[in-house]
Amino acid sequence: MTMVDIGRLISLIFIGGGLLWLFISGLKGKEVDRRIIFLFIFLSVATPILFPITFGEKATPVVKAVFDKVESLPEGSRVLISFDFDPAMAPEVQPMANAITRHSLTKGHKVIFMSLFATGQALLTQSLRKVVGEEFPELEECKDYVNVGFKAGNEGVLNVIVTDFKKMFPTDVNNVPYDSIEVFDGIKSCKDIDLIVSIGGGMPGVKEWVLFVGDPGNVPVAAGVAAVVAPQMYPYYPEQILGILGGVKGAAEYESELIKNYPHFAEMDTPALRMMGPQTLAHMVIMIFIVIGNVLFFVSRRKRRGK
């Protein structure tokens, strides 16, 4: 048993024991102070981060659809990944962007990176440095992938690039002119792109991509969104959006699918799978608190009726 195992055991016993104790005092009709709830939430999140706990994930059809699309495109296909999120959303959706980037580059697709969020550009650079720079050092910028960065104008940008990509992005971020970028060979507009992946759940985001590019240009759009907005995206699936990665769970499913098909990814960073540990534990804790709350309610109602 390593130190990690011991730490994990102690914290789990503490969380479990504490909840049991709260449950029993709930039976006696004692309300839980909200600060105690806060403490348990902190513990349930911090423990799996310090002492990794992972749960197996199986890809659901909505996620599998995105994976299969990337998998089935012929080598050299053009994939556009748009980083439509800000730092606040990043922890949830950046792992998806990274996973899809990894997958596309492994398959030999040529990837165009862009962002509709001003603050997304920095996150994009960060992802490029981390994923492309470290894991795919042999790839050349402009030849195998290109970063055109952020353009202000929200859906206005999309409205233009659906007919003319160069008009909005005359150069990439390093001021390399459009026409000398190999990735853009033969690409006039978004209609010439084989797959568009929009990551992010805000405004502008997936909805705008679908309405302004996907539908009018008849381009397949895949989405990666924060869990909050995912339900609002389901009505578009599968006609207008071919697949949806919803929240960390979606990302984790994608990562596990990636590992299943390309075992060497197991050694690489799988942040979403790692994140599902604290998620699962925190969800359990919340559910137990809901149970305790209801126990309390029925106990106190019986007491009142007793009187």
């Binding site: 709830i37 806060f38 606040a88 920095a122 339900p231 919340i286 209801n294």
Partner: protein, 224 residues
């Protein structure tokens, strides 16, 4: 008069914008007006920013409770304005965008505003738990429905949903919790969302008309 003219302006602008939707040559008017709004908003900031300076300034001068914090706010505000407007510490000089990478202005954003913002946002994790503990109790039929729906979805978001109901045979797989969760999201959830949205659409029409017609005029102040 001081009240009639603004009411007239509201009426004319409102009607023109509604009509412009049907008249192609004026179609871009809405966009033009949004740009006007952006410009007005910056001018209005003199009132807002001025109010910020003024209230903290007077708080500090009168030594009211917590006046020290007012000084911190003031210093932060003025420093940020000076750095940003005059582009101090910006490698690109005066013609570079203020938020250029590596500029002092952007660095303060990254190192101060970003962690603060992300942390404030993350407080939600705690509040979601305390709110669900308090609110999801089977007090009456509506609350019970709320509770059950939330509980199923929560279970569906963990591997435990599959663990508890994975034994259910294929032909009844809708009863497996993850599938049930998706079904709830796509059917009753969608229905509720739609009813709310249609209502909102009509509510906006009615309120906008009240405003344009000058029936709703509280925002315009009195006749002084």
């Amino acid at each position: 008069m001081k009240r009639e003219i603004p009411l007239l302006i509201t009426f004319i602008v409102g009607v023109v914008l509604i009509v412009s939707v049907f008249v192609p040559p004026t179609e871009t008017l809405g966009e033009d007006f949004s740009v006007f709004f952006d410009i007005i908003a910056v001018f209005a900031f003199f009132l807002g920013g001025g109010n910020l300076v003024q209230s903290h300034f007077s708080k500090a001068r009168k030594r009211q409770t917590d006046w020290g914090y007012s000084i911190v706010t003031l210093v932060g505000f003025v420093a940020m304005l000076t750095i940003g407007l005059f582009k101090l510490g910006n490698p690109g000089g005066i013609s570079a965008p203020p938020t250029a990478e590596g500029s002092l202005f952007q660095e303060i954003f990254d190192f101060v505003i970003m962690p603060l913002s992300a942390t404030m946002y993350s407080l939600l994790a705690f509040f979601v738990a305390s709110a669900s503990y308090r609110a999801f109790r089977a007090k009456n039929r509506e609350a019970t429905i709320l509770l059950v729906a939330a509980f199923i979805i929560l279970l569906g978001r963990t591997p435990f949903g599959m663990l508890v109901t994975g034994w259910i045979p294929e032909s009844f797989d809708i009863l497996q919790i993850p599938n049930m969760a998706i079904w709830i999201m796509n059917s009753p959830n969608l229905a509720g969302q739609r009813a709310i949205m249609i209502g909102i659409g009509l509510g906006v029409v009615s309120m906008s008309l009240r405003i344009i017609l000058g029936i709703e005029r509280t925002y315009l102040g009195g006749d002084d």
